[in-house]
Symmetry: C2
Subunit: 236 residues, 2 copies
């Protein structure tokens, strides 16, 4: 299995998919992939055409072809024939709704387990987890199920952040994850800060990027894991 799970597409003040370009390039090169099937289903506030154009420009600059599944008459067939898959960010509930509705969730899962490279950012990283239950997104649409691909056995919280607006009574991100753990005590949760990614290649999982990640499990104190670290314990 080959996975590139990116926390976020864009850091403020930087280009779209700016910071993870090098990781994307190396990941696809290592896998020998030349053309990527793009899944734009998380896009809500922009059209799938506009979303495809934005992502295509970046992938073309890096030397890869990219085509979006929304043009395909048979999306499951398109997945069956893809060399590599990229799932874009946006609203996780909309993404999961569409992945279930089209049958593409199961199709991608099968291909990724069979070894084609899978990459996602934000919502696209969430759906590689057992379920969407650690997303930050608003539940704007009800999917057939919260279940996702389970390519990794732990849950990612993308855009993990430590800041909390001063004087605000709502829960902090850490409190939200603790609520998740209170009723899901057997899972690891990874708070993946912006400008970081998880890469799974050659049977090993590692963290890359500019920050540490925060790892949570019921009954233990959260701990920080530095970039470059081997985090294979999360895969068992």
């Amino acid at each position: 299995m080959k996975l590139l799970l990116i926390s976020n597409s864009t850091n403020p003040g930087e280009e779209y998919l700016g910071w993870p370009r090098n990781e994307i390039k190396l990941f696809l090169q290592n896998a020998g992939a030349k053309k990527v099937l793009f899944i734009p289903y998380a896009g809500v506030s922009l059209s799938y055409d506009a979303y495809e154009a934005k992502v295509k420009e970046v992938f073309n600059q890096l030397g890869f072809g990219l085509y979006s599944i929304h043009h395909e008459a048979d999306p499951v067939h398109a997945v069956a024939n893809a060399e590599a898959i990229a799932v874009g960010g946006g609203n996780t509930f909309h993404l999961v709704h569409e992945l279930h509705r089209t049958g593409v969730m199961q199709a991608i899962c099968g291909r990724a387990l069979a070894g084609i490279p899978y990459m996602g950012w934000s919502a696209g990283s969430n759906v590689a987890c057992p379920s969407l239950r650690t997303t930050n997104d608003m539940p704007i649409i009800e999917p057939a199920s919260f279940d996702c691909m389970g390519l990794v056995p732990f849950q990612i919280n993308p855009h993990y952040l430590d800041a909390h607006p001063e004087g605000h009574g709502g829960e902090t991100r850490e409190q939200r994850i603790e609520e998740f753990l209170a009723i899901n005590p057997d899972l690891w949760v990874v708070g993946l800060r912006e400008a970081t990614s998880l890469i799974y290649e050659n049977g090993h999982l590692k963290l890359v990027g500019r920050h540490s990640m925060r790892v949570f499990r019921q009954g233990t104190n959260p701990r920080e894991v530095e970039p470059g670290s081997d985090v294979d314990f999360l895969m068992f």
Copy 2:
């Protein structure tokens, strides 16, 4: 119908259920209620017993009795016999999961429509709306359905906030609501800031509290509505 829909229980630095005490007291007094059935199902990080004790203390101070549904052998029967209902905040997905599982969602809806006073804060305000689709909470558990009571025909976003952590790439609250409207164009969404409530009494809806609320609808600019304003347009 008599509704008190409170954005949040507690402002930082203030007592639990501190700021809305006067509204709670007047609301129950006007309705002639003396004893309140409490619904603690949104509580995840504290036990139902602890949650009940915390809320009971406040209601007792205000001169009202309070007993929690989790002690009742037949929760639907308890709702059928209640004089007034209070639904506490916490995790909206957990609340909706339990309300559907126990049949209490439908039971409360029937009683509230029949005229007994209904009050809720945070998650407890969300479930008075058509669905949970404008909650801020993490989807830590999958409910049987996103559908809620629809006592009001619009969606509330409780703990509405304008602040956004500097340098964070995740969506602002307003962007999240705009995503909701993009696929739900026929609904009003109300951003209910902390320290504000909506009261429905004598056939009129009004905003009370310390701040204006932000009102959203697809295809129009968001607008601010001041406390004291009549907001009956939201009920049609």
